[in-house]
């Protein structure tokens, strides 16, 4: 087993830059106090009400995502490298989407196979030729980052549909500031509380050109049965915008209105947390009762901005991900600042053969999967699981990609046995507006709470941490 890089550098007296204050504090704080603080944190979360539902969990019981009270720290220098890379990556994602829904130059150039796009379930033919107000498809991106050594950050996944989790980032900070005001007083930590302002400014900046100077923004949710409903209502509240369901909206002469007590009010920008398939029963699934009939006609007429745009899922497909270095070079003429994890595309026969021969060392993922479902982690899987997965892989190679098992960095985490290293990832949120790109320093750190586990997804035993970017 490879020894993972620990971000604090927990052995010996020294520690990595940025962790000095935290390390001293951890050493001087009795375990009892940590336990007390953790209980207080849990109480605060219950009062605030952040919970999530696990898909397929029959009881449908609301669970609290475990929160770790030890923050994860990045120095200003580390962050500025990351931030530049993130901005570049999302710029390329937007250029890629604008291209595949118009001329398809990258396909003609033979850099990305066209069947990977045109046969992709998330490609939406309905978007072809549709001119967006600012040519921005992905206003809100969540880019999952992992780290393997002091200098190497990899992008693990691009989330270009409706990335979630930002409410945890905000709540984690709020709780930490209440529990440990001294730690915040001792050093300058970049604020994240301005995220709602940044998001609202971004959304307003992409309003249709026909909108007034103060565009109306609303958040479209599938409703209370959705696993992320808490986040939808939380964000609507923080942004000071209406939280609406499909039935609260109507389309008249290709203009979208929301029903209010004072009559219909025009909506210019919809921050929609409803999947493409359900958006408009007159264009997509006819049986969707969650959407807005006629919404796509209004969209096509240029009277509403949807954020994110329809059809962005084709950019967060894991097979398309493997082409991101080429995509960055093609559209920006620059070398990618953030690296991809080396990826085998199982659709290619040579790659498939290699993967099948090395399954016990690899992580294999479904190209259209998310949330850590349907993946194989070779090193921790038993022989039977590996054999079953090999059969699945051989039957439908197009559906899978494979990556080496990375020794994800660890961060000190307060678990039952005390403070111990646990693997972490990071999901920064990149906001792209008509005016500029906004990235709140940090993001959501997810932590695999089980010793040795590499799965950070909340649905599979992951927790979260506050993420500190030191401002000095």
């Amino acid at each position: 087993m490879v020894v993972a890089f620990d971000e604090m550098g927990s052995s010996g007296d020294s520690c990595r830059p940025g962790y000095e204050v935290l390390k001293r504090w951890l050493e001087s704080t009795p375990p009892d106090l940590l336990t007390t603080r953790r209980a207080e944190a849990e109480l605060l979360f219950r009062r605030i009400g952040i919970t999530f539902n696990v898909y397929g969990d029959e009881a449908g019981e609301e669970r609290l995502i475990p929160f770790d009270i030890i923050p994860r720290i990045l120095t200003k220098k580390e962050w500025s490298v990351l931030a530049r890379g993130l901005e570049q990556r999302v710029k390329a994602l937007n250029a890629f989407l604008a291209d595949i829904y118009s001329k398809g130059e990258i396909l003609r150039a033979g850099l990305v196979p066209d069947d990977l796009i045109y046969r992709n379930p998330y490609y939406r033919p309905e978007m072809a030729g549709l001119k967006l107000a600012h040519d921005i498809y992905v206003m809100i991106a969540g880019i999952d980052i992992v780290r393997v050594d002091p200098d190497t950050f990899y992008v693990l996944e691009d989330n270009a549909r409706t990335p979630s989790g930002v409410s945890y980032m905000l709540e984690n900070r709020e709780v930490m500031m209440r529990l440990f005001p001294d730690l915040f007083a001792e050093q300058r930590i970049a604020p994240v509380e301005n995220y709602p302002d940044a998001l609202l400014a971004t959304l307003k900046s992409v309003a249709p050109r026909s909108a007034s100077s103060d565009p109306t923004v609303a958040l479209l949710t599938p409703g209370p049965y959705n696993s992320a409903f808490y986040e939808h209502s939380f964000l609507a509240d923080k942004l000071g915008i209406e939280l609406v369901e499909g039935r609260d909206l109507l389309v008249r002469d290709n203009v979208v209105y929301m029903r209010t007590t004072e009559g219909p009010k025009r909506v210019d920008v919809l921050y929609r947390r409803l999947d493409d398939d359900f958006l408009d029963p007159l264009t997509f699934r006819p049986d969707s009762a969650l959407g807005v009939p006629g919404l796509m006609s209004a969209y096509r007429a240029g009277n509403i901005t949807l954020s994110n745009a329809v059809g962005t899922g084709v950019a967060d497909d894991k097979a398309v991900y493997s082409y991101m270095p080429e995509i960055v070079r093609f559209y920006l003429g620059e070398e990618p600042l953030l690296q991809n994890v080396p990826t085998w595309r199982c659709r290619e026969p040579d790659a498939l053969k290699y993967v099948l021969d090395h399954l016990p060392e690899m992580v294999v993922k479904e190209v259209a999967g998310s949330g850590g479902y349907g993946m194989l982690i070779g090193p921790t899987a038993d022989k039977k699981t590996i054999a079953e997965f090999a059969a699945k892989l051989a039957a439908n190679p197009d559906d899978f990609i494979a990556q080496p098992t990375l020794a994800l960095s660890t961060s000190p985490t307060f678990v039952d046995s005390g403070v111990a290293p646990r693997h972490v990832d990071l999901r920064p949120f990149v906001l792209t507006g008509g005016d500029k790109v906004r990235i709140v320093p940090g993001g959501l750190t997810r932590v695999a709470l089980k010793a040795g586990s590499l799965v950070v997804n909340s649905s599979q035993g992951g927790g979260t941490k506050d993420t500190w970017v030191l401002d000095a």
Binding site: Y118, P125, R252, L282, R300
Partner: protein, 272 residues
């Protein structure tokens, strides 16, 4: 042939709906072998029809009506001059790369049954694509019993070995796409001389693309490539994508309209 078409779509809302919104792909386009002499759409309520092209090139009209309504009637009517092109679709601008027409949709997904059927036909027919597609049309016509089914997904229709023209088109498309042949769905009208009864749904068939030849229609239900008895309305990846009418009424989302389609040879039948 000059065909006169009257296509009525009548909704009844009980209880009354609070406004309705409709998207129509109910206006045929002209191309070689199909000349639209005149065509109009009438709605029995005040509304403004806005017209646009969808990415497939179809003419799409949409409108909404406000206020309480207990019914809604849409009528499309006009005359179309047709010529037998042996199923060839020419003289129409194509907007998508053909690779798009290899996409699966829920209605045109194939399963092992359809794939084996397609592969057997492919193996037994001459190597050229045109022969394969004709053999596929023949084979499906023989294998499938005509009739209405609740579920017109390709998989369901093929499993039941039964379906109407539209379900058969889905099976044809699923099989052709499995063989790597770009295929799509066409909605439209079929003139059946001597038939007194009006139709209660539009007709549908498949179109397949052959490199160097172009798009050709295949109607497995009638085992024929479209002739001058066919009028082509819209295309899509499946029936839903090319549906002449998709609508919703506020308060009554799922009202199913009554459809009456009358097709006659212009000049030979007295108009009321």
């Amino acid at each position: 042939m000059r065909l006169r078409i009257v296509h009525e779509i009548v909704y009844a809302f009980d209880p009354p709906a609070n406004g309705a919104i409709q998207t129509l792909r109910l206006t045929p386009r002209g191309h070689d072998g199909q000349f639209v002499v005149n065509w109009r759409i009438e709605v029995d309520h005040d509304c403004r029809l806005s017209s646009a092209r969808d990415p497939f090139g179809n003419i799409v009209q949409s409108f909404n009506t406000d206020g309480k309504l207990d019914g809604l009637a849409i009528t499309a009517l006009g005359e179309v001059e047709t010529h037998d092109m042996a199923g060839m679709v020419r003289g129409q601008s194509e907007r998508f790369p053909v690779a798009v027409y290899l996409r699966d949709t829920q209605l045109t997904e194939s399963d092992q049954g359809i794939r084996s059927f397609a592969a057997e036909i492919d193996a037994a027919s001459p190597p050229d694509r045109l022969s394969t597609l004709h053999a596929l049309m023949d084979g499906l016509h023989d294998a499938m019993e005509p009739g209405e089914t609740e579920d017109d997904r390709a998989i369901a229709a093929f499993a039941a070995r039964k379906g109407d023209a539209r379900a058969l088109a889905h099976v044809f498309i699923a099989a052709a796409r499995h063989l790597g042949i770009p295929s799509r769905y066409a909605s439209g009208y079929l003139f059946k001389p001597g038939s007194e009864e009006p139709d209660h749904s539009e007709h549908g068939w498949a179109e397949a693309f052959i490199e160097g030849v172009g798009w050709i229609g295949f109607d497995a239900a009638c085992n024929i490539c479209p002739t001058d008895a066919y009028v082509r309305l819209a295309i899509g990846l499946d029936r839903v994508g090319a549906a002449p009418v998709r609508g919703a009424a506020y308060g009554d989302w799922s009202a199913v309209p009554k459809v009456t389609i009358r097709i006659s040879e212009a000049g030979t039948v007295k108009q009321p």
